[in-house]
């Protein structure tokens, strides 16, 4: 059972980091495109709480939460997104390519659906080497329209690979309602491949963690793929700066009622956690993010010469 306080802390860190990113983006300190997962933190926190160091995660373009929940360095994260040489990827990837392979974080991905076959390969590697590790592919409900998703689930099913596919179902496929784009309900889709599908409240980190723990435990004992569908809400636009003209403004008010962090906080208080403990956690998340941003600001910019020589392994490697 995942510790609810740890889940709370993970979600706080993701929220603090992403709200800070939104400010940095607005101020011009974060270039390019960023896609925030504000409102969806419970999925990343819950799933990653069920994983160990031997496991792998392939993420999406909305991947900051997955990376932070996987325990990457916040300083390396901010430095990357702020295009600094000390970034996790030396400033060559940015928000859509944050990766930490040592921590089994196989990368965010700029291509919708592309992380799934990569996670499939990681699961294949686990099985081939005879380990008990699993691989997780996060994906959004819009990604189900991509062919690679179908190839991945089919291959995972016929080979019975330890692939946990986690759908963050926020109802949106970029700027469109996903139900106008995808004919299949996720449960029906997975049933067609003989794969077990579990639906979970994606705003309840403990419920997500329990579903993920159950799946991962079965997969460590040889079970094949599973799909978790976590229903949640995307609070912000597809990308930062998205005016969201396609969206009913009242939806935002409804979404706030399902804030996974507020819910987690209330549950912890009900269970007798002292308010002071939660306040300390909140202060620590804020401090950790502020410290990471300060370090990233002080870091040198991305290094062109290092990038230029980084396309291939050095000769003789």
């Amino acid at each position: 059972m995942a510790d609810p306080l740890i889940l709370f802390r993970t979600m706080l860190t993701i929220r603090e980091a992403e709200l800070a990113l939104a400010r940095l983006f607005a101020d011009g300190e974060v270039p390019g495109f960023i896609h925030l997962s504000v409102g969806q933190e419970a999925v990343a926190a819950g799933v990653c709480a069920a994983l160990g160091p031997q496991d792998s995660v392939a993420s999406t373009h909305r991947g900051h939460g997955h990376a932070i929940a996987r325990g990457i360095s916040l300083e390396g994260f901010f430095a990357e997104v702020m295009a600094k040489s000390t970034g996790l990827c030396g400033g060559r990837g940015g928000s859509m390519h944050v990766a930490d392979l040592q921590r089994g974080m196989l990368g965010a991905n700029g291509i919708v659906g592309a992380g799934a076959p990569i996670a499939l390969g990681a699961a294949l590697a686990q099985r081939t080497r005879g380990t008990d590790g699993v691989a997780v592919a996060f994906f959004g409900d819009g990604a189900l329209a991509e062919g690679a998703m179908h190839e991945t689930l089919n291959m995972a099913a016929i080979w019975r690979l330890p692939l946990l596919m986690v759908c963050e179902n926020n109802g949106w496929a970029e700027f469109s309602r996903s139900d106008t784009q995808v004919a299949a309900k996720l449960g029906a889709w997975t049933a067609a491949y003989g794969v077990r599908h579990v639906e979970v409240d994606g705003n309840d980190a403990s419920a997500v963690a329990a579903a993920a723990e159950d799946a991962v435990a079965a997969q460590r004992h040889g079970e094949g793929p599973r799909v978790i569908e976590a229903r949640t809400h995307r609070w912000r636009g597809h990308f930062e700066g998205d005016p969201q003209r396609y969206r009913d403004p009242e939806e935002a008010a409804r979404m706030a009622e399902h804030d996974p962090i507020a819910r987690s906080r209330a549950t912890l208080l009900d269970a007798g956690t002292p308010a002071a403990t939660l306040e300390v956690a909140e202060a620590e998340a804020r401090d950790a993010v502020a410290t990471a941003i300060a370090a990233a600001r002080a870091a040198p910019p991305a290094d062109w010469m290092a990038a230029l020589s980084g396309v291939y392994a050095p000769a003789g490697a």
């Binding site: 030396g90 990368g107 700029g110």
Partner: protein
């Protein structure tokens, strides 16, 4: 020393690499029980088991995507795509994922995978089973591309590709699969990026790769009857390619023809011509000429396909034209 067909040389390289390194696995359609559509993997599933020689569904995007994930996770996958034409279905995994991972992740890890795939016509296989698409891949930073012309090089290049820490595409000309040639029992390792002088000559340089090496050699033999001695350089590796060897030859012959089976426009030959027009400008005593396929899809009918494919006569004519 053994005489092997090219397809057997590929099989031998796979066998040796898999024997030496148990992280090497094979993925592809019908490569296991069926032994591969061209027989390149015959007997390997019996030898190494179904987990290391894995028959896949007809899912090219899934195959290459899985190879990327497995390579990032410590294996060395060698994936086969049945016909090069089918790489279109796997381009995201190849171009956006495999090629970029080392760079975009800041050098944390490379993607040590190999993609083997046959190209080329001459079999009346039609527009979707005959194309030579290697120039696409040479255009992508992060990929390496090799293309053997002989069984010995097929063996050596595949061994080098599997040992390479970055993604390598080995393009195999399917019309050469049955070609026989000597392969050393323990050949010296070959470095990717080194060309081979297939035939020495002093009057003109013909740069070629894959099947075109044999047409170029045939052209050189015909030209020799008129006392024109053409040097034939077999590139072997297209990305990176051996600029130094080509320049050194050009500096002796002062005339350059580049021959390829692929469509001539925007091809490998265009890149070589452009580079030599730059760094070899002072050596040139005639125009750099390319011989390649016309700007049409590969046709099916034998009469059409033989009109389409470059051959020794066209290469010889190009040499005469640049010497003129």
């Amino acid at each position: 020393m053994a005489e092997l067909r090219m397809v057997q040389a590929v099989n031998r390289a796979l066998t040796e690499s898999m024997t030496e390194d148990d992280t090497v696995i094979l993925l592809g359609e019908d490569i296991g029980a069926a032994g591969g559509p061209f027989g390149a993997t015959r007997g390997l599933q019996e030898k190494f088991g179904p987990d290391r020689v894995r028959d896949t569904p007809i899912s090219e995007a899934g195959i290459i995507g899985a190879a990327v994930g497995a390579a990032l996770s410590g294996l060395k996958p060698v994936a086969e795509i049945m016909f090069m034409d089918f790489i279109t279905l796997a381009m995201d995994a190849l171009v956006n994922q495999a090629a970029k991972a080392r760079f975009m992740f800041g050098g944390q890890r490379g993607v040590p995978m190999v993609l083997r795939t046959p190209h080329g016509g001459g079999l009346s296989a039609g527009p979707q089973h005959s194309q030579c698409l290697e120039a696409w891949l040479c255009h992508i930073p992060g990929l390496k591309v090799v293309c053997p012309a002989t069984p010995a090089d097929a063996h050596a290049l595949l061994r080098a590709a599997i040992a390479d820490p970055d993604p390598v595409v080995m393009v195999e000309n399917k019309a050469l699969y049955a070609m026989k040639g000597e392969v050393d029992d323990a050949p010296a390792p070959l470095q990717i990026g080194r060309a081979r002088v297939a035939r020495p000559g002093r009057d003109a340089t013909i740069v070629a790769y894959g099947a075109a090496v044999h047409w170029a050699t045939e052209a050189a033999t015909a030209l020799a009857r008129d006392s024109i001695e053409a040097e034939v350089i077999d590139l072997r590796s297209l990305q990176p390619w051996d600029e130094a060897t080509v320049l050194e030859s050009l500096a002796r012959t002062h005339h350059l023809v580049i021959a390829q089976e692929a469509v001539e426009a925007f091809g490998v030959g265009a890149e070589i011509a452009a580079r030599m027009a730059d760094i070899g400008f002072d050596e040139l005593d005639g125009p750099i000429l390319r011989v390649g396929a016309p700007f049409t899809p590969v046709p099916f009918a034998k009469e059409l396909e033989s009109a389409y494919r470059p051959d020794a006569a066209r290469i010889a004519a190009a040499v005469r034209r640049t010497l003129d």
